[in-house]
Symmetry: none
Subunit: 232 residues, 2 copies
């Protein structure tokens, strides 16, 4: 149903894994991190639409983490969950734009009820973001525009847009040709492989301008392509 990327940051292994499994059963694409450092890496990997953050982490505070995430991805749903029932902290979290703040102990059901409520109200926004960012690439789907690593903004055609959106929704994952065709051309249309390759050529023009060379469209022979950010 959803398949939204979700980052779960929780240092207590037991709780973390329980939550992860539970959220996966709820059809989220969950990555679990146990430290701030790991959280940063995985944040860049999956570009989560939702982040559930423990506040007390071994190498830092979830609040600081949230602040960083906010800068990168404005529309990411932030949710704190912590044992500290400290009014000051709660205010700080909410001022940061956190969607919610759950105090331990809580029941799994409470978490999902709160999540459901948030997601319901933001369903449209989550699936129609104004801006998508990946490395130095900025993409504005509603504007049909992209900004490459050099800062130049260029218009995109309908198809270019659709393909780029696919790649950014599934960043770092391989998207097969069949999936592209089905989701963009529809089942009744059968473009040549060359057609897709050509759009890849075009998209590479933008991706390659990330001068660090960390953003790449890689071909996976016989399957399809992936847009990946290396070196994090």
């Amino acid at each position: 149903m959803f398949n939204l990327p979700l980052l779960l940051v929780e240092d207590e292994p037991n709780l973390g894994q329980t939550l992860r499994d539970y959220l996966r059963a709820k059809k989220f694409r969950v990555e679990l991190a146990t430290t701030c450092a790991e959280a940063r890496t995985k944040f860049n990997d999956i570009g989560p639409a939702v982040a559930i953050l423990d506040i007390g982490l071994p190498d830092g505070s979830g609040i600081d983490l949230a602040r960083e995430f906010r800068q990168v991805r404005k529309d990411c749903v932030l949710l704190f969950c912590t044992a500290l029932n400290d009014p000051g902290l709660r205010v700080e979290g909410l001022e940061l734009g956190a969607e919610d703040y759950i105090t331990k102990p809580f029941e799994l059901k409470e978490l999902t009820l709160r999540l459901d409520r948030i997601l319901k109200s933001r369903e449209f926004t989550l699936h129609n973001p104004d801006e998508m960012r990946f490395g130095k690439l900025y993409f504005w789907p509603k504007r049909f525009e992209i900004q490459d690593g050099t800062g130049e903004v260029s218009p995109l055609s309908q198809k270019e847009c659709a393909i780029l959106e696919l790649f950014l929704e599934r960043r770092n994952e391989v998207v097969s040709r069949d999936e592209m065709i089905e989701s963009i051309w529809g089942e009744n249309s059968f473009p040549t492989n060359r057609t897709i390759d050509n759009y890849i050529v075009k998209l590479r023009k933008w991706a390659d301008t990330d001068l660090t060379g960390s953003l790449k469209i890689t071909s996976v022979r016989g399957i399809g392509y992936k847009l990946e950010l290396k070196g994090h």
Copy 2:
């Protein structure tokens, strides 16, 4: 600004009055009740858009109260605030459709932050403005007039107005032909593509007078048009 009717149910006099004053300062029309009985009366009196309920009341539970209110007024925003940090109760409250659940102690700021967030998501802020501005373009929808980059004011026809309004509501975003037709002509009318193109021609006459050339109507092939302000 808001002046929304709000029912506050809190039996502790000190906290109740503080909250009431604070919320009044925030431009809510607040009624304070200290018992379930009083709450029922005042609920019927003011028909609140928001109800903030303490759970532990002298003559009953805020949860039961909420259940009654829900039946009468489905769209009322319910917000529990209580000293009991009981996961079971929280779940019960949220299942009832409560918008949020605050645990004491909390800061006033937290309450308003949460309120703001809820109200924002319900978009109480919608209104139709007298004046819309974009770049050097001024548009007065109620007067059917536009002022272009040269300062000249011109009258607009009904359709010109409607289309311009759409563009200004969604500035910088692509508006599809279908959206325009649906929102302006209605679903039963099927104007030719040429029809829309021609209105675009007319609107461009105004947009192009922004001599800096930063205001433009751009076509996105196969989709529609966008009115964009470049260089900002």
